[in-house]
Amino acid sequence: MKTEARFDLPQGTLDLLIMRVVTLGPIHGYAIAQRIQQMSREALQVQQGSLYPALHRLEYKKFLAARWQPTETGREAKFYELTARGRTYLKAETENWKRLTDVVGLVLKGTVEGVL
């Protein structure tokens, strides 16, 4: 069993992570979970219970498009792709995120130095 520290993802960030992974090309749900785990160096483990509702919501909002196609093992899997709308949304949200983390970082840094 893995013992590394895990994070509770802030609201909305899972969508960002999913879309980021999907930009790399058509990919099915299981691979998305694996990819997020890998890219976060095992720090983030996405539960199926959060992943699939998120995927379905993004598909419903038309940020993602899905189609069924065979994997390398020959089984049918549902592959997700970013739509044009999703791409725009991801771009805007990524910038927002960066600005937010910068600002939060700035404030936290100040607090740490000033108070402690």
Partner: protein, 881 residues
């Protein structure tokens, strides 16, 4: 994909979702196996990591936004199952609702056909009815136009696109070997253009067709089909009517009807024939008989047209004082408004009454739901304990009531289908367009709206009430028959009081109309209508001298009088209640007035023996006899009202009156009053006795008289015998409108009879439903209070006390309902005061009688539950609870 598509493709989505998650699962297992864990162990671990598969699926569905819809589908399914589980309750509710919705729908379909549907002409809102105001009479007194007036209005107006005249008449035509009397309308040549309807076949009338010698006719579709075998080459062919040749211009479309109402004309004649002869009616300014319809120019208002036409009328009044002095302004109304004018209050009353029935139905079903709902307390408590919100419970309950009301609505439509023909059969014929009443799209939308509104109305109170049950207490109590608390009782009591009050209002309304109707039937008409057979014969005026014409009737009456079983026979015109009448100017010798200021009263024509046959009493002088013939002294007989009005302190006998009737025939002879006869009700039983004078028919051959025969023989056999006698004298004459005086009288009371009958039906329904409502509440109360009653009896209460306790409650509620009903009736019945004849809207007899009836019924409704309570075995009750 829209939500509705998604709902239908739900199964595919479900399969996909399952496949997607299964793929994930299998991939995860495969990875574990690859890392060296045995397959069974891999599966177990993966299943652990996955958690609740169903939960994930539910979350995915929710994210897709179809959840609410699916849960409604689920709720509906649940509601259906629930209603099917208690079929007795469901059938009762649906039947009660069906009565309410069915009656409302049937009445609405009448309202829709008569009041709401637009006229079947092009741009009907621009069509107006046009007339002139008679300023010598008080209030609105429309007077028809004469041809010269009409032509002037047509030429001089600036606000109308077109203005057309029409006047009803008849034509005699040889059809299938027999002379037939046909309804034929004489119309100006632009009528069809004004209405915006083109002939289906042939050509429209043209201005040329108004000129003398150009007699043309337009056939109705039905007449063309039945009498001309739908001959496609009919246009341009010649037909013979009244001994003249007419050219067929064309055939109107199938649905075309004008004027709308009974009897519908089968053909339309151009006014060419009215323009012929030595003194044509088209040149008589005093011949005020035309109906006029006009089409407004686009953008012109009714008021503007009225102002425009009034100017013309005022000018004509100045120009022709002899005929037009009192007609100084025009009367203009939208055509539809004019057509349905009189029928509106009656229809409004019926619709109001039927709405009350519907309201009562709602209160009744609400009571049933409430009683049943409180038995379901445990169910709601359980639902809310496991997390159902109050909104969810209300939604569930409203869905159930909507489902009920839709079933009731569907059954109501079926009922209305059956009711409409019955109502039309009972309906007095005078209501225009009513025969077209049917269940059309508009009516169906009405039913849908009514169903939704009633469903929400009778469902809302119980739902709001029941959803407030506190889970803990309800669950605790649910083992026993649980009581819904004071507030619920109050609501239930309120529903019963409402029903009683509505029942009271409807019963009072029905009672008033009934009493009024009985009063109408009690009216003495001034003649004896029993055993009098009547018929009309159309003897042509042209081609026969006055002598021959009169001789025909003389011989006919003699022959009929000789028939076995005939007591007396005569002829006269107009018959009372026949809706024919003529008002003609006269002057009294020794009281000179200008020609335009002459008084005018109703004119009657009578052959010798007419008053005797009708049993109109002779008050003074003598009746008409053989001496009042063509060449006899000009004579006149007046009625009592006439004598009182014009000769208040004089003996009318021997006075001299000059009547301007029969202008072509006589040089306005000065007539001597030879008799005074009793007054008769002429226009209807509820109207006043109007002044009237009679001329001997021989001296005023104005129109064919009605033959009247007093006999004890069977009316139909007698009518056949009269027809045979007439054809024996002249086989060309058509015999028509065979009837009896009683039938005329019956028809004249058709409207109040119909209103009283329908309102009584509603009142009976209301009474039964109110009784059911009260019975239901008390029965329910007994069930709820079984334990209490048992305890009371165990502690020494007598059965009589228990009986009294329940019965008292029933009587109390009814008393309150009756009180409220009386108060509401005192206000509402004022609205129908116009329909009442010699009955005040607050008639104490009706009010007291209705209250007594309702109280008796409610005592009866209370007795069964009260007795049931009194018969309870206290020991058994306590053991069971």
């Amino acid at each position: 994909m829209s939500w509705i598509e998604r709902l239908f493709s739900r199964t595919r989505l479900e399969i996909d979702l399952d496949k997607e998650l299964r793929f994930h699962f299998e991939s995860q297992v495969a990875d574990k196996v690859r890392s060296g864990i045995p397959e069974s162990e891999s599966r177990r671990l993966t299943r652990l990591e996955f958690g609740g598969l169903e939960q994930i699926k539910e979350d995915c569905r929710e994210r897709r936004g179809t959840l609410w819809l699916e849960s409604i589908v689920h709720d509906v399914r649940y509601a259906v199952r629930l209603l099917l589980r208690s079929p007795g309750f469901t059938i009762t509710c649906v039947l009660i609702l069906a009565i309410g919705v069915g009656a409302t729908t049937a009445i609405f379909s009448l309202v829709n056909a008569v009041l709401l549907r637009p006229l079947p002409f092009a741009q009907p809102d621009r069509l107006i009815w046009v007339s002139q105001q008679d300023h010598s009479l008080p209030g609105v007194a429309p007077e028809s136009l004469s041809y010269p007036d009409y032509f002037d209005w047509r030429a001089q107006n600036h606000t109308l696109e077109g203005i057309a005249s029409y006047v009803n008449g008849t034509a005699t035509m040889e059809l299938q070997g027999q002379s037939q009397r046909l309804q034929a309308e004489s119309v100006s040549s632009n009528l069809f253009r004004v209405l915006g309807v083109a002939p289906a076949l042939g050509r429209d009338f043209s201005w040329e067709d108004e000129k003398p010698g150009n007699r043309v006719v337009m056939l109705s579709y039905a007449f063309w089909q039945s009498q001309f075998a739908a001959d496609p080459a009919i246009a341009g062919k010649a037909i013979t009517m009244d001994g003249h040749t007419y050219t067929v211009a064309g055939v109107m479309p199938k649905a075309f009807e004008f004027p709308i109402g009974n009897p519908a004309p089968v053909l339309w004649k151009s006014i060419a024939e009215d323009a012929e002869g030595k003194s044509p009616t088209t040149q008589e300014r005093g011949f005020d008989v035309l109906g006029v319809i006009a089409r407004l120019r686009p953008g012109v208002t009714v008021e503007q047209a009225k102002a425009d036409l009034s100017l013309i009328a005022a000018k004509l009044a100045g120009q022709y004082p002899d005929n037009n002095k009192q007609y100084t302004s025009a009367l203009v109304e939208p055509e539809l408004t004019h057509m349905i004018g009189d029928t509106r209050p009656a229809l409004r009353m019926l619709f109001g009454a039927v709405s009350m029935v519907l309201l009562l139905v709602c209160a009744n079903v609400a009571g049933l739901l409430l009683a049943r709902g409180s038995r379901r307390g445990a169910e709601f408590a359980l639902r809310s304990a496991i997390g159902a919100s109050r909104a969810a419970i209300i939604r569930q309950l409203l869905l159930e009531s909507l489902l009920l009301s839709f079933c009731g609505g569907a059954a109501g439509i079926a009922l209305a289908f059956g009711l409409i023909p019955v109502m039309l059969k009972l309906m007095p014929v005078e209501i225009p367009r009513v025969e077209h009443a049917s269940i059309d799209g508009g009516v169906l939308i009405f039913v849908l709206v009514v169903s939704i509104v009633t469903g929400l109305l009778f469902g809302a109170f119980p739902a709001w009430r029941l959803s407030r049950t506190a889970p803990a207490s309800a669950l605790r109590e649910s083992g026993r028959s649980m009581s819904g608390g004071r507030a619920q009782h109050r609501l239930h009591n309120g529903l019963v009081v409402t029903q009683t009050a509505i029942g009271m209002v409807l019963l009072i309304g029905a009672g008033l109309l009934m009493r009024s109707f009985v009063r109408i039937l009690d009216v003495q008409p001034g003649f004896d209508p029993r055993h009098v057979v009547t018929t009309r014969i159309a003897v042509p005026f042209e081609g026969a001298t006055h002598n021959q014409h009169y001789l025909f009737y003389q011989q006919l009456v003699e022959r009929i009088a000789a028939l076995p079983g005939v007591q007396s026979a005569s002829a006269g015109w107009p018959l009372p209640m026949s809706s024919s009448s003529a008002t003609v100017n006269f002057n009294i010798q020794g009281r000179p007035v200008a020609k335009g200021d002459e008084p005018s009263e109703s004119l009657g024509l009578a052959m010798p023996g007419f008053f005797e046959t009708m049993k109109i009493p002779l008050i003074a002088g003598r009746p008409f006899g053989a001496q009042d013939g063509l060449t006899g002294q000009p004579t006149i007989i007046v009625n009592q009202a006439f004598a009182k009005k014009y000769f208040p302190n004089q003996n009318p006998i021997g006075q001299h009156i000059q009547v301007r009737a029969g202008d072509d025939i006589f040089e306005h002879p000065v007539r001597e009053v030879v008799g005074v006869v009793g007054d008769i009700k002429h226009k209807g039983l509820t109207t006043d006795f109007d002044p009237q004078y009679y001329l001997p028919y021989a001296q005023a051959l104005i129109t064919n008289p009605d033959v009247v025969v007093r006999t004890n023989e069977d009316p139909v056999a007698m009518q056949t015998a009269i027809g045979a006698a007439a054809r024996d004298l002249d086989k060309r004459v058509p015999v028509y409108r065979a009837s009896t005086l009683e039938e005329y009288l019956y028809q004249s009371a058709a409207q109040p009879r119909f209103q009283a009958f329908l309102l009584s039906c509603f009142a009976v329904i209301a009474l039964v439903l109110a009784a059911i409502g009260l019975y239901g509440l008390l029965s329910y109360m007994v069930v709820q209070r079984t334990l209490e009653i048992g305890l009371r009896m165990a502690l020494g209460a007598q059965r009589v006390d228990v009986l009294r306790m329940i019965a008292q409650r029933g009587l109390m509620l009814s008393l309150v309902g009756v009180g409220v009903g009386i108060a509401v009736s005192a206000v509402l019945t004022r609205l129908i005061s116009g329909m009442l004849f010699e009955v005040r809207p607050t008639d104490p007899v009706i009010y007291a009688g209705t209250a007594a009836l309702l109280l008796v019924v409610s005592v009866a409704a209370s007795s069964a539950p009260a007795l049931r309570a009194a018969r309870l075995d206290p020991m058994q009750t306590l053991r069971e609870q």
